[in-house]
């Protein structure tokens, strides 16, 4: 038998795949626990969702939420910082702390046989941080040094200037790490106060996924979490602040000089939608056509047709409030304005002259639905999905309906979503690049006069 190379093999039916189900419980003190047994590998992932993020930073203390989270593992009531990390390494555990605008998530990955000890350490870290003044100063200085270093990282500069220009005084208008002047005066008493106000177990959700039964996972969680005392947290307040409308935009085109840069770092975008948008699934399909994967229009145009860049992508960042819609690329210096013009044209075309074709839509829907199991293969992936659902108050079985909802997205829905949520006439553009080689060419883009920033 030989291969028929006259055509590609047809695809089998859509995969029959039921996403791993979560079992949800609420402990007597209000802590939510989501468990999913998962036996693909001997791994256990614990993710503790604390609903406080950089959006809750006081306006004169940008970086407070992230610094608080960063100092959590610098020792607890009973363990010194070194003692704590010795205990973690003994069980081969990885701890990571992530702070986004919306939330703080502590992730502990270990082997299932260490579940009880891992859970105890995780809760100790979240509940009884030591906040020793000297440790707080040390970690704050490390963060100040990181801010200093990122001044030379073009991607970081572009992201910061973009977010600040897009959101201004809105809670989403600064990066989680904060700024040098706001971070410098923060001390251990600020961290303790922030921690006692926001780290209230009644607002937490623990997502535990891995090689133990649901009962065993719940039991381990209960042992450590149920005894915690708590007051009702201020979740409602913070979600209201995130949902404010972003203020009007001051400058549409911002240029940051980077002497002799061989590439320009480019961002284009505007405030997008919240995860609660009824257009969520239509926008997933739209973005696959526009710039969400390799074969998207924007990447094929800028990389594969023109060779301007190693890659170009667009994304909607679905947050509790309206997260940004962003185009991102590093483009060679000489092609900066041309690449931006092409990207803007793609945004216009997809909602005006060249809406997604039936073929493009079918490809996008298929990519999302046929590829669905790939995103839920490992315990770590499943735990990540669970945390996202919990953060947005979505039902634990939400993913059961994902394929059906994406398949129901038709041409009208995508076009309507594009017209409602893509605004090529209201773009903010940020360019980090060479002044003499790039700046003179930007005036022709129709985005107004470039404002210079650093």
């Amino acid at each position: 038998m030989s291969v028929d190379r006259s055509r590609l093999p047809t695809l089998g039916p859509h995969p029959l795949f039921r996403p791993p189900g979560f079992r949800c419980s609420t402990l007597s003190n209000g802590v939510g626990v989501w468990t999913a047994a998962h036996h693909r590998a001997p791994v256990l992932t614990l993710r503790l969702l604390v609903p406080v993020g950089a959006a809750d930073d006081p306006t004169d203390q940008f970086g407070l939420a992230a610094l608080t989270a960063d100092v959590l593992d610098e020792g607890t009531r009973d363990l010194t910082d070194v003692g704590l990390h010795v205990a973690l390494s003994r069980i081969g555990a990885h701890l990571s702390v992530g702070v986004s605008s919306d939330a703080t998530i502590l992730t502990l990955t270990t082997l299932p046989k260490h579940a009880a000890e891992a859970m105890a350490l995780l809760v100790d870290i979240a509940v009884h941080p030591r906040f020793d003044p000297d440790d707080c100063d040390r970690v704050r200085n490390l963060r100040l040094n990181r801010i200093l270093q990122t001044r030379q990282v073009p991607t970081a500069v572009a992201d910061r200037v973009f977010i600040e220009s897009l959101y201004g005084a809105h809670p989403y208008g600064h990066l989680a790490i904060g700024t040098e002047p706001s971070l410098r005066p923060i001390d251990s008493s600020d961290l303790s106060a922030f921690h006692s106000r926001w780290y209230q177990p009644a607002g937490w959700t623990l997502v535990a996924v891995g090689g133990l039964s649901d009962d065993a996972l719940l039991e381990v969680a209960k042992t450590e979490l149920e005894p915690l005392s708590t007051v009702t947290p201020a979740v409602a307040i913070c979600s209201r602040s995130r949902r404010q409308e972003p203020p009007p935009i001051a400058d549409r085109l911002i240029f940051v000089a980077r002497k002799d840069a061989v590439q320009s770092e480019v961002r284009l975008g505007h405030p997008g939608v919240s995860r609660a948008s009824p257009d969520y699934h239509a926008l997933l399909v739209l973005n696959m056509v526009l710039g969400g994967q390799f074969v998207s229009r924007i990447n094929l145009n800028l990389r594969e047709d023109k060779g301007y860049t190693y890659g170009a992508r667009t994304a909607f960042d679905y947050r509790v409030g309206r997260g940004p819609f962003i185009f991102r690329s590093s483009v060679q210096t000489s092609a900066t304005a041309d690449a931006m013009r092409e990207a803007i044209k793609e945004l216009l075309d997809i909602r005006e002259t060249r809406p997604p074709s039936e073929r493009e839509l079918a490809v996008a829907r298929d990519a999302l639905t046929r590829g669905f199991p790939l995103g839920l293969e490992t315990a770590t992936q499943v735990a990540r999905v669970g945390t996202t659902l919990a953060l947005h108050g979505l039902p634990a079985d939400e993913m059961d309906r994902f394929v059906e909802r994406v398949m129901a997205v038709d041409a009208d829905a995508v076009l309507a979503a594009a017209r409602a949520h893509l605004h090529p006439d209201r773009l903010v553009a940020v360019v980090v690049g060479s002044t003499e080689d790039v700046l003179p060419s930007l005036g022709s883009l129709g985005l107004g006069e470039p404002a210079l920033m650093d």
């Binding site: 039916p13 590998a41 910082d81 061989v262």
Partner: protein, 436 residues
């Protein structure tokens, strides 16, 4: 953890390895070609990686982008090139495995008829942009360009970087493409893993169907390796657009799976793996002269590189940092690790192993690891042996591995300082290097 498999070699020399796991309806296709930048010729550096890009530009029976038929199938895919090998992978839902095999086999068997000078030119530009994005326009990005030629003097195939020199990329010709493909891209120089929701028999049948007709090629040309070693403890100084000085200490070290390789992995963990490690505590936590520190045993097929990297805190020089690192190292060289350091580093490495092998696909997942063992060892079933060498590396083994490799005379020290920074920020007597 157990990763079970079956292996067969087809008549044309292609190794086929099947790993079954039905717990998720996806299949990983992972294909290694045993060619990397160490097989390049001087004057044509960067070619193996540029060639990898061309593998995504279509083949005779699908003369269109490689991504499209697989992304619409719900697949994820990528490829990468390093000094020793080039790998390509797809992870697809079960119903698309034949499509992935059709695509992989078409580019192995029928790439050249679809290649045009235009595609070659565009990808040359894409690669030059990749070099700008990942190296030239990134702080500390040019460090490897300064370091590798000194660690591996001319005549050694690790002398140059996989990304290559821009003038070499510009000099590469369309004829070079054809010759490279015929020499290295054939079943006899490749290893295929199918992993996941597939049965062993079906896997072998499909592999034979799609790849069996592709003729074998020539045996791989041998490479010459000069044995010029490092001597005289070279010190280099690189000025870069950075805010804080950074010190890179490097030594040649045991090759992948060589004697002492695992011991040096453990040593790297003891020195700088996490906040309870020696150098983190000494440099970042206690004396606060550094903002970060890392260590690693980067093992490769011919020889490895052990490195320690630390960034100075504002107001501190790399001389202070070097003294502290040297002091910690001499304690290891004289006394070895102590207490539960070895045990904890073993626990970390063992659990990292499990985390990495959660996935059947992607870089570093089960299929990629099976191919690594097969290509470098001729035996995919090396998981237990691999883990075993960590379990058996004790205090003495770590101490003697450090004594064998981390000797003063063969160390290369590179100081990176800000463009306008005071020379005193770097190590004294360092030789300025200029990299384009």
């Amino acid at each position: 953890m157990q990763v079970t498999f079956d292996k067969q070699t087809l008549d044309n020399g292609l190794d086929v390895i099947i790993h079954v796991d039905h717990s998720c309806p996806i299949v990983a296709v992972n294909l290694w070609y045993h060619v990397g930048s160490k097989n390049e010729k001087p004057g044509r550096t960067g070619f193996a990686h540029l060639f990898e890009h061309l593998m995504f530009e279509g083949s005779e029976h699908h003369d269109d982008g490689y991504f499209s038929p697989l992304e619409e199938a719900g697949g994820a895919l990528n490829g990468s090139t390093n000094a020793d090998r080039t790998n390509y992978w797809e992870v697809v839902p079960t119903g698309a495995v034949e499509r992935a095999l059709w695509m992989e086999s078409d580019r192995m068997g029928f790439l050249l008829p679809a290649l045009t000078p235009e595609k070659f030119e565009t990808q040359r530009q894409v690669v030059l942009n990749e070099r700008r994005e990942s190296y030239e326009n990134r702080p500390y990005g040019m460090v490897p360009m300064a370091l590798m030629p000194v660690l591996f003097p001319a005549g050694h195939p690790y002398h140059w970087l996989t990304i290559g020199e821009p003038e070499d990329l510009l000099a590469a010709s369309f004829d070079d493409v054809q010759a490279f493909f015929r020499t290295y891209y054939h079943p006899g120089n490749a290893s295929l893993v199918l992993a996941g929701d597939i049965d062993t028999r079906e896997g072998f049948e499909l592999a034979r169907l799609y790849f069996g007709e592709i003729p074998p090629g020539p045996s791989r040309p041998s490479i010459t390796v000069s044995d010029t070693t490092v001597s005289g403890a070279p010190r280099l100084l690189l000025r870069d657009r950075v805010e804080l000085p950074r010190l890179y200490l490097s030594w040649r070290s045991p090759r992948l799976f060589g004697d002492g390789d695992a011991a040096l992995d453990l040593l790297a963990t003891i020195l700088a793996g996490g906040k309870s490690s020696r150098l983190y505590r000494r440099l970042v936590h206690d004396s606060r002269i550094a903002t970060d520190v890392s260590a690693g045993q980067g093992s490769r097929e011919l020889v490895g590189v052990f490195s320690i990297v630390a960034t100075a805190a504002p107001g501190h020089s790399l001389t202070e940092i070097e003294a502290a690192i040297t002091d910690e190292l001499s304690q290891i060289l004289n006394d070895g690790p102590f207490g539960d350091e070895v045990e904890r580093s073993q626990a970390m490495i063992e659990s990292d192993f499990a985390y990495r092998l959660q996935s059947i696909g992607d870089f570093g997942g089960r299929s990629d690891q099976l191919n690594a063992y097969n290509v470098y060892f001729g035996d995919p079933g090396h998981f237990d042996t691999d883990l075993g060498r960590y379990r058996t590396s004790d205090t003495d083994a770590i101490q003697s591995a450090a004594q064998n490799s981390l000797t003063g005379n063969e160390r290369v020290a590179l100081s990176v300082i800000p463009v306008e920074g005071d020379l005193l920020l770097g190590l004294s007597d360092s030789k300025p290097v200029d990299v384009a």
